[in-house]
Symmetry: D2
Subunit: 360 residues, 4 copies
Amino acid sequence: MSSNSFGTLFKYTTWGESHGPAIGCVVDGVPPRLPLTEADIQHFLDRRKPGQNRFATQRQEEDRIKILSGVFDGRTLGTPISLLIENTDARSKDYSEIKDKYRPGHADFTYDAKYGIRDYRGGGRSSARETASRVAAGAIARKVLESQLDTEVIIRAAVVQVGPHKISRTNWDWEQVNNNPFFVPDKEIVSTLEEYLDATRKKGSSAGAVVEVIASGIPAGLGAPVSSKLDADIASAMMGINAVKGVEIGAGFACVEMGGEENSDQIRMKDGRPHFLTNHAGGILGGISTGQDIVARIAFKPTSSILHPMKTIDNKNAETEIVTKGRHDPCVGLRGAPVCEAMLAIVLCDHWLRHKAQCT
Amino acid sequence: MSSNSFGTLFKYTTWGESHGPAIGCVVDGVPPRLPLTEADIQHFLDRRKPGQNRFATQRQEEDRIKILSGVFDGRTLGTPISLLIENTDARSKDYSEIKDKYRPGHADFTYDAKYGIRDYRGGGRSSARETASRVAAGAIARKVLESQLDTEVIIRAAVVQVGPHKISRTNWDWEQVNNNPFFVPDKEIVSTLEEYLDATRKKGSSAGAVVEVIASGIPAGLGAPVSSKLDADIASAMMGINAVKGVEIGAGFACVEMGGEENSDQIRMKDGRPHFLTNHAGGILGGISTGQDIVARIAFKPTSSILHPMKTIDNKNAETEIVTKGRHDPCVGLRGAPVCEAMLAIVLCDHWLRHKAQCT
Amino acid sequence: MSSNSFGTLFKYTTWGESHGPAIGCVVDGVPPRLPLTEADIQHFLDRRKPGQNRFATQRQEEDRIKILSGVFDGRTLGTPISLLIENTDARSKDYSEIKDKYRPGHADFTYDAKYGIRDYRGGGRSSARETASRVAAGAIARKVLESQLDTEVIIRAAVVQVGPHKISRTNWDWEQVNNNPFFVPDKEIVSTLEEYLDATRKKGSSAGAVVEVIASGIPAGLGAPVSSKLDADIASAMMGINAVKGVEIGAGFACVEMGGEENSDQIRMKDGRPHFLTNHAGGILGGISTGQDIVARIAFKPTSSILHPMKTIDNKNAETEIVTKGRHDPCVGLRGAPVCEAMLAIVLCDHWLRHKAQCT
Amino acid sequence: MSSNSFGTLFKYTTWGESHGPAIGCVVDGVPPRLPLTEADIQHFLDRRKPGQNRFATQRQEEDRIKILSGVFDGRTLGTPISLLIENTDARSKDYSEIKDKYRPGHADFTYDAKYGIRDYRGGGRSSARETASRVAAGAIARKVLESQLDTEVIIRAAVVQVGPHKISRTNWDWEQVNNNPFFVPDKEIVSTLEEYLDATRKKGSSAGAVVEVIASGIPAGLGAPVSSKLDADIASAMMGINAVKGVEIGAGFACVEMGGEENSDQIRMKDGRPHFLTNHAGGILGGISTGQDIVARIAFKPTSSILHPMKTIDNKNAETEIVTKGRHDPCVGLRGAPVCEAMLAIVLCDHWLRHKAQCT
C-alpha cells in the first residue's frame, strides 16, 4: 500500500507528470534470464496509445519505451528494470483556464487540498497518461507468467458496455476486440457505438464504460487468506486505475439476487481434473484461485473533461464556470482495457511468486 | 499487501482459526496516550456477535475481547496492541462430512489446492469469524480519528438490499439500523425481509445483500495519487471481507450510463467552504478525499453453507454430494455491516496518519 | 522496516510489555505441512530462560510457549502462527524508584520523549524479555531451513569475549558452549569468567560481551544487491537486539588494516565445488551469500541496571540519583547468544524464501 | 527490506548498472512545496565524484543529475521524484578478463550463483557507482529535515582511520575534512596518508578505512521499540553500502570492556534541557534518539580490485588467476564518507516522518 508502488515480490514504482520531461517506472523482482526486449513492451503500449482513431484523444504521443537497466544481452538480470517514456507532445500551450480553476470530476481540487501545490499541465500526476507505465510493467508480468507456468496463460480484456449499450454475450468473439476502436468483442454493436459516441461528443458530453478482464490458465492456489486475497488485490489494482468507480469479481453485484444453491459453483471431474459447473465465483474462493477463469468487471466513469460548461470554484474559493477544451477521449474507459489487462497480469504474477515462495 | 496484515502506518495483523483455542490480532502504529478500554472495543464486537436473533448463526460466542499489551493505566502506549478473543463455543462436533468433501462456494477446495492441508473445523482460517478481529481493530481506528480530527467523524453502514429487496432511499433513517435484525435504515421493509428470509431458510437456500458504508467528517486531502489511492484501499479492504464479490464508490456502476456533465460533481461555495452539488464521486477524486461523504457499496454473495444438496468432489477427486448442516447465517451480508464500517475506519485512519506524515 | 515486525516473506510481529499479562508474536509466511510442536520451540526458549544460574537474572519465568493458531494436527497450516508466553512472575512490586526517574543507559528517557507515556514496570516494551518472542520465531525459521535446504544447516552462537576476557580461538569447542553459564566455546576460560563476573557484581558493576554467530550449510545466492543485502539485514537484525552497539561481518573492523590481497578470499575448487581459501568476507560478497559459513560478531554493552549510584533526572527535569535494585543479569550479552542465533535463522529463512520466489 | 528500495515513508528505489545507459532512483514520500533544484543535489554528488585526485578512480564521470518528475516551478509536488544520472564514461573496453573469471572479494561469483547471469561490465549492479543514487536521495532527505525541524541539523562524516593509521581525536577539525583527498578531520595526518596510499598502490595493494558519521540537532524521540530501531536502521543502511563490513553506534565494540557505571551516560540538566555527561550510547537508547549527537562508525574493507595476482576460478569452475587492471580507488572507503552521510540523513528523515505520523 505504498503511494506510487504496487506489488510485493513483483513490484513496480511509477513516477512522472503528464507534461514533465518523461514518465516511467521501475520494476523490481523480475526473475533473471528472462528474454526481454523493448519491442516486447512496446507491443502493449501501442494498444493504449492515444491518437489512433477519432474516439481517443488526439494527443500525438509515440509512447516509445526505453529500457535503462536490468536487461543485458536481451535477458533480464534479476535487478530492477527501469523503463522510461519521454513526453514528446507536451505542448507548451495556454494553461490559464485550468491553472487556477478546478475542473469538476478531476483531481485538481483534491491535489491542491492534499499538497497545496499542483502541476496543472495536462493533469500532472493524475493524468491517465501515467497508466502507460503500468501497461509496460504488465507486459513484463505476462512474460514472467508465460515462462513459469506450465499452462498457457491468456489475459485479455474487452469493453462490454459503453454508456447504456451492452454487448451481446452470445456474439462474443475475442477476435473482434482489436478490430474496432471500442475494444468490443461483438461486431454487431460497433456501428451503434460509433453513432452513440459521435453524438455524445457532438453535444459536448462523454460516456462511461464497463471493461471485463479474464485470465485463463491460472492454476488453483494463488492468493492469500485474509488481507491480500487475490480478489482484494485485483480490486485494489482496478480501482487504482484512473476513472474507475466499481469492481466486480465473477457474478459480482448480480449474485445478491441469487440463492446460495444457484450462486455456489458445483464441482465435478472433467478430463481428470476438478471442473466447476458454473463460474459465479469468477475463479476465486476464499481469496484463492480455483483454477477456473479469473473474471473481473470494471466500471469507468464518463470522461470529466467535457465541453459542457460546469460550475466550479477557483483556488481562491471564488465561484466560476469552466469549459474543458483540448484533446480528450470521449470515453476514457475504452483505453482502459489494456490497462485492466496489465494490472491483472501484475497481480497474478505477484501472487504466483508469493505462492512459489511459501507453498512449493 | 501482506497476507494477514493490513495497513501501512495503522496496521493490523490477524491470526486464528475458527475452532482453534482463540483468534486475535495485533494492532501496530496506534498513537500513544489515547484512552482505550476493552469496553470501547467490546461495544463494536457485540454488534456483529452471532446468536442474537434467528437470522444469524446460532453459534453462542461471547466474543469477549482481551487486551494483552499496548495499553497501560487506560491509555495506549504507542506499542503494539495485542487483542485476543477465545473460541468458547468451538464444539468438538462431528466434522466427518466436511473433512474430506469440498463445500461448493467455500474455500475448502482452494485452501487444499494452495496449502495441501486444511483445518476443516468450522472453516478454519476462512471462517467469517475472523472478521471479529477486524471489527476490534476498527474500533481503535475510530478512536484515533475521533481524537485527531477537528471534525466530528461518523462512520456507519446500513444494509440497502437483501436478495431482490432494495430499501427505499426516501425512507432512509439511520436510527432504524440498530433496531432491526437486518441493519436496514428503512423500517417499512423489515416485515418484507422477515418473510423473505424465513422463506429462504425454509427451502434450504440463502440470500445475498448489499451494504452501504458512509464516512462523514473526513477532511479533503486523504489519499494517494497512484497505487494506494483512497478508493483503491477501500476496494481492497472491502473485497477482503468474506463473501464480498463487488465494490462501488459513489455512483459506482451506475455512472457508466451518465454523461460527464451529470456525473461530474459541480462545485459551489457554502458556509465559506467548497461544496459539491452532488456526490457521484463518493467523496473521492483522483484517489484523494474531497471533504464530502465517503460512500461505498459492497455486494455480499448468498451464504454458501446451505441445506440444499450440492454436487461436489472430495479430496481424492471422487465425485459426491454434500449438504451443509450446522449453524449458519441465512444471509451472511447482514453481519457484514459492522465489518464494512470497521474496514472503512481502518483505511481512513491509515490515510490520515500518512497524510499527517507527508503533508502537514 | 516496520516498528514491531521483521522480515518480508518469513515475517514476525511481536507485542507485549515485560509486566503485562503476556508477551508474544505472530509469525506469518511459514510454509504449510511443516511438523511443528510447542516442544520444538520450547527447546530454544529454555536456553535463554532466566534464573538458570547465578549469572542470569533471578526472575523465575517458566517462559512456557503456547501455539494459538496456524498449526493443526501437528503440522503448520500456512496461516499465521500466534505464539504466546504468559508473564507469570511479573511481581506487583514497588516501582516508585523507577516510575519517575530515568535509569541511565535504559530506554526510560527516550520512551517518555517519544510517546509521552511509559510502562515503567520492568522496562515495559524495552525489556530484554521481549527477545523471547524472537527466539520462538527463530525456532520456526530453523525448521523451515532444515526442511527446505538440501544441506545440513547449523546455526549456532558462542560468547567470544566477556569484559576484557577473550576466548582462545585455538581452544574453540562447540561442545562446551552449552556446558557453562557463559556460552563460551573454551572451557579453559570458564573459571576466569566466574571470578570476573562475581567480582563485577560484588562491586555493583556489570560487563559487556561479544557474541559470534555462525551459520553453516547455507547455499550461495541468498541476498539482494542493494537495500536488503544479506549482511545489511543481519546488521539490522542484530543491532535490533537489546543492548547491542556493534555488528561485524567476517573480518569486520579488522579488515581495515589488511591489504586487499590479504582480505579478498581467493578461490579454488575442492570436492568439485568452489572453495574459498579464507573467509574474511564472512560468507557474504556484494550482499549475497558465497556458500561459506556466514559469520557475524555482535557487541553487547554492559547491563545498565546496576547497584552503582548514577546521576540522572526525573520526568519533571529535576536532577537526582538512582540505584537500580532488582533481579538483573550482570552481563546481559550472555543470554544474547540464543537471540543472535534466532535472528540469523530468521534472516536466512526470509532470504531463502525470497530467493526461491525470484530465482528458482 | 525490499531488494532495491529503502525507507518506509521517505523511500527511495534505485536502479541501474555501472555501464548501462544510466543509473538513477525514484524518491517517494517527499513532502510537497519544498524548494528543490538539481543544483541542491549536484552539490553532494560532486563530493563523491570520481576522478578528483590521484587517490580516487580516474573514471571521468560528470555525474550530472537530472530531475525528471516530482518538482514543478522549483518546488516539490509531493509526487515521486525521479532522478537520473547518465553513464557517460562507460567505455566499451575489453572485458574479456573479467567476463568469465570471478574477481576475489567482488560480487562476481555471488551474482552468478544467485541469478545465473551477470552484467560483468564494471561490476554491473554491484558497482560502487550505484551509491551516487543514494547520495542524491540523501540530499533530498537533508532538505526535508532542515525544513521541518526547529533545530539546526548537521550531518557530516569524516574518515578516522586509513589502513593502520588513525586520526588524532584531539586534532579534530571539521574544516579540514573537505580540504584533503582523504576526508580526514586532522591535517597533521595528511602527509602520512599520502605516503601510505602511494606506497600501497605502488605495490598493487589497497587499504581499508573507517568512516565516522555524526548527526547533530536531531530531537529526542525518533526511532522504534523493536524491529526498526533507529540504530538497527542505521546499521542496515550502512552495512548496505558497498565494501562495508562493520558498524558501531557510539562506543560500539569498545563498550564491551567498560563497566556499566562507565558506559551508561549519566544525565544532568543544562540550559534547561536534559544533558548527558557522556555519549557512549551514540545518541540512541532502546532504539530511540536521546537528543544527543547520533554517532556511528563504519568499517570499509580494502578495495578488492588490485594489481596483485589472485587465485580464482572461472564460470566453468576451472582454476585460474586474475589481475584486476583498470581505474580503481586504492581505498574505496574514502569516497564512502559522503555515502554514509546520505544514508544517515535518509534514515533520520524517514524516522522523523514516522514520528510525526504516530506521536505528534
